[in-house]
Symmetry: C2
Subunit: 442 residues, 2 copies
Amino acid sequence: MRLSRYFLPTLKEAPSDAQIVSHQLMLRAGMIKQEAAGIYAWLPLGLRVLKKVEQIVREEMNRAGAVELLMPTIQLADLWRESGRYEAYGDEMLRIVDRHKRDLLYGPTAEEVVTDIFRAYVKSYKDLPLNLYNIQWKFRDERRPRFGVMRGREFLMKDAYSFDLDEASARKAYNRMFVAYLNVFARMGLKAVPMRADTGPIGGDLSHEFIILADTGESQVFCHKDLVEMGAPGPDVDWYGDLQPLVDQRTALYAATEEMHDEAAFAAVPADKQLSARGIEVGHIFYFGEKYSKPMKANVAGPDGKDVAVHMGSYGVGVSRLLGAIIEASHDEGGIIWPDAVAPFDVGVLNLRVGDEACDAACDKVVAALEAAGLEVLYDDTDNRPGGKFATADLIGLPHQLIIGPKALAEGNVELKHRATGERSVTSLDAAIAQLTGKAAA
Amino acid sequence: MRLSRYFLPTLKEAPSDAQIVSHQLMLRAGMIKQEAAGIYAWLPLGLRVLKKVEQIVREEMNRAGAVELLMPTIQLADLWRESGRYEAYGDEMLRIVDRHKRDLLYGPTAEEVVTDIFRAYVKSYKDLPLNLYNIQWKFRDERRPRFGVMRGREFLMKDAYSFDLDEASARKAYNRMFVAYLNVFARMGLKAVPMRADTGPIGGDLSHEFIILADTGESQVFCHKDLVEMGAPGPDVDWYGDLQPLVDQRTALYAATEEMHDEAAFAAVPADKQLSARGIEVGHIFYFGEKYSKPMKANVAGPDGKDVAVHMGSYGVGVSRLLGAIIEASHDEGGIIWPDAVAPFDVGVLNLRVGDEACDAACDKVVAALEAAGLEVLYDDTDNRPGGKFATADLIGLPHQLIIGPKALAEGNVELKHRATGERSVTSLDAAIAQLTGKAAA
């Protein structure tokens, strides 16, 4: 992508109402623009990262056996009256009346809708287990939206819903999501700790939040230090085998959000392993049994032919919020440091003298070679000064930056910079291409 | 994907309120479920096709130089007051009041929002031409939603917006979209005819609808027959060169929707070339100059340093509606016939005797080989009868079906069926794999 044909409206300074660094950097990097309180447009650079995060979540959900569908943003109030949540949900629900005076709402979550889909089609235990998920915009009318996409009103959520014949299978479904979540966040370069959590308006008796530690976190959390560095199991998991040991390994150590915090239990953690910090919630999983299936009559015929209400769980990932969380966890004074897996472009090519025949030709060659190798390249072909190009590439967090200027190029060289470490090396153009594409130089 | 782990709730019969064949088939094929009048959930099979259609639109927009962003679904009423459309838009606009009594709406289109984004950042003619697009859910509160996704209330639209310094460049931007649209629809196997159209509530003085001919079309259209078979220019177009000849070649022949129909001009078309038919609108493009930029003060400094209001156009594709249009254009009594480019899966593998060792092994082998070659495979590993498996594969429109049963397999053979032509051939397993992957048999 040529920057001269792209739309990357970076800002020198963030608006003063942006309080936390991720919000400031997303505005400065031209990723988002506020449209109303808690409602953002995703500018091209922000959308690219959002799509990468979304795709990682999708791939890990698919791997764990969940099946993707897409529920509409607008829901019928009547479904929420069936579950008893319509009145209970309160002011955070955006209530809407259509031209025919029918009560609608902008979905803040989708337990009711997915339960209605399930009961319309699934009649037998033979079709279980089933896990249906979608990645869709939600709306929660927060009283005080803030922190940019971290606490917005319109936000992108991955929400999965599991359906099982009994509690034992439902716990296996819960474990599959527990393990999948570990992989999701690890792939994005995040250290997410699962913590016992309150179930809130979703309900149920078993729940974990997945928490990133960051000074700007919205809530206080308490955990055993070893959980932070424990890592993820990775993709080679037997998803329909016994995942309990992987879950137990983590839940055996103390970890709880403030609402669930137990001083006495925490005191039993060795003093040098006690960690109390601020945390950002990036995922939340729930097992709630028959809470929705009973009132909404989501029954299947069991092996004995008798109808039973299915046991359900729900599993959320804050997809748009994750961009803020990743930036909180990975930035420096120069700007964002994207983990490779979610970077908007893999490589930035900075032409330090646009119009110079040799520089232009070298840039064209390298861009073509990198793109042919499947890399995504942002080519700064603008007539900005070198200092501005360096600053922009760092601000927007391009992991690898290939700097091409007339002086070095006269000797056949270019400069390669690694954003995360700041390391710079001077090499031949071909060696740089080879290094970036992972192939030996010709 | 194993069908036993998928969620494909097909129906024997369509509900009686589904009036047109695409609506009936989408319901029967388990692609959509109605959630409220004109509001649908996209079940897994439907979502797969929706994503393919969306991706084709995205690729062709990118090719033509448009830049993707994402605007929120919820918009501020104040922006529409600026353009003067808030009152004018009428009952189709879904108006919403939030908890702080602020007037919001669910965007039916986004001229105001994108103009606001533009004016916030773009100040100079040097940053033009610019074309920003997004693929986002829209809501129009139709008085009488019907025909399934063809006239829904919540629908997925690609909407692009061009910004240029003057009318001459704006017409070039219009031509780029005109040509891109020809390519978009051709890639989906559709014969779309551009027709002079009324501009309606978007405004402006130049507009074309892209129309698919189908008996169930919502409106009467009139055109020169040659336009139907004229085809698309394809991707190798010089997008910033002179596209006028490509456009003129089409606009020189008569083509108009009912609102713009000119009996006298139509009578001048040779009698054997006069075509009057029903049509389905799948795209609509507009040039409207300064209609939004003037009241909203979207100005840039021109080469002479003076501020001028930009000239704009907007360009819509009904992404979700296209699924209905494609089915209207491509089906038979057995069900849907997906064009390869938008099929939910490339190949269906039908195991006629699940549990039979040889059949299971052959199926496992072929599924692995096809997936390794990058094909998307739906493997019917259920214990349904062969007749049911054939009917489902045809109903959901899988382009290639590989039928593996014990009798033929005992002789080393499988059957390969082509959905569109109905052709069947018996070959060895390896030859079938080779044929489907386009590689020579080992």
